[in-house]
Amino acid sequence: MSQSAQQARLQWHCRRGMLELDIILGTFLKEQFTQLSGNDQNAFEQLLNCQDQDLFNWLVHKQIPTDPSLLPIITQIITHATTKS
């Protein structure tokens, strides 16, 4: 899959059942994804496989995920969402 096709696939996978997630994930993908390290890009993809309700609790309610490996990417997304000018 080409890089643009991969980006398009991720864009579709940022379409969620909750508006809050559409906004937070979609904005992060658009504005930050290409600047991430390979590891962080993989972590973002892994995050997209999680459940909407969990993503909502982590990204909107700032709860801590049970899988600690997800925490760094979640922190980056929250930071980006709340400090954007």
């Binding site: 398009a8 696939r9 579709w12 379409r15 508006l19 809050e20 906004i23 909407d52 000018s85």
Partner: protein
Amino acid sequence: MAMPTYTFDAIIVGAGGAGMRAALQLANTGSKVALISKVFPTRSHTVSAQGGITCALGNADPEDDWRWHMYDTVKGSDYLGDQDSIEYMCKTGPEVVYELEHMGLPFSRMDNGKIYQRPFGGQSKNFGGEQAARTCAAADRTGHALLHTLYQQNLKAKTHFFNEWYAVDLVKDRQGKGVAGIIAISIETGEMVFIKSRATIFATGGAGRIFESTTNALINTGDGVGMALRYGLPMQDMEMWQFHPTGIAAAGVLVTEGCRGEGGYLINKNGERFMERYAPHAKDLASRDVVSRSIALELREGRGFDFLGVQCVKLKLDHLGADVINLRLPGIRELAMTFAHVDPITSPIPVVPTCHYMMGGIPTNVHGQAITVDANGNDRIVEGLYAVGECACVSVHGANRLGGNSLLDLVVFGRAAGIHVQQSLEEGLELLSASDSDVQAAMTRVDRWNASPKGESVFDIRTALQKTMQNDFGVFRTEKFMREGLQKLTDLRERLKHAYLSDKSTVFNTARIEALELDNLMEVAYVSAIAALERKESRGAHSREDFPNRDDANWLKHIIVFNDGKTAVRPVNMKPLTVDPFQPKERVY
């Protein structure tokens, strides 16, 4: 060109609560069922219904009665709901909820082990008496729990999932008897297929994306409504859209009444606390519709702020001080910082009336069978086509939906449609055949976009569409502005026919999907506008400045609109089977 073809007993479009409940009913009885979903099923918008599912189990109050729930729902609907449908929903509710419990839905419990029930607005005991507690929940994740339970059950029942496939249009049969199937496109590969089926069930959800400000996720583009309209079927009650007064401008995320309860208030661009003018006593704590219309009037009068190109008012909290905000409203502060990038400790939050729910949709009977109206004004059942959930108008919500009734609607009527399709299959429901030209007709709009040489962008037309709906058909409705709005929509609809898809690639071409979605949004917006102009009264969510009162003598009826703009009416059902009808009364709470 030989297009790949599949054949099923039933195909269901949309894998939210209603679609998956219908699929399960059919798959469990041995039918060959396909479920098409443009996103992975558990990412359907049902997950946003966190609050719960209402029905009279009688756990919180042993005296509770489904007839009281029925009364509340009829009254909540401002008497536009069909009483036979509401009766069926409220009466069947407990049975359907216990089925979900047996499937493993993890309901919250009372100490005695029974399903816990919480009070919600609009719930009463004894036909309008004291507050009832009737809403069952799985903590604050009821929608999520419902989707998961149904998804697991469907996997077990061998439902065939077409995940990340997009339904394009219905295919007519060659004799014009009914629906032969559907054309669908794989989002991953761009492949197009013809899925033949004896029965087609639409469960495609709402279409809040027609408005500039909506709580609806991006996927809520009214795909089933668009397909049904292009097929030649009418929509019902499309003027009825539920709004919340305060969504964050340019985002749509709700800020709850709690803020105003803690002493927050709304200001216009002059810094004026304008609710004092509209509701001198209740002020900012006036009812939702009053607050919504007051905001809309301020914007109409040019007293709004511009926030990222969106006209809005602001919710002021800074006078409460950092301590109160951090102690009592920490969640709101987080939301404001995330979705408006303002800190309410120092800056007011931009807010605007925000669309939440579509009460109208494809008219159906209690079995979910789609209904059209013939030239003589008589109901006609559309052979082989069903609609359930938010895309349908059965109609249980009438002019206004009560909290906790949407999840109930999904599972009760998803199940009912499944049962009816199953019976029809047993009675020999035919597989109708389509000619090549019928199939080709259903691919017209994909071909159109794929061949588009130049023109306006999807983004530009969609933005203009959403602004028009927000300004002229939102919570402030009056003849003059709606006429102007309808003209704008008519122009936009023409411009859309010449719009341009620049990306013609095949793999995950999300731009193509958004173009196809815009076709549907346009159809939804158009019939909503016609219906809003047609209804010359105020009822439930439809509130007109020029006709401020409910007018039962002339308008206690459903409005039907076809995609050519023709309208008709259908009577509201006032004949429940087992109880006396509830006669319209003034709706006071």
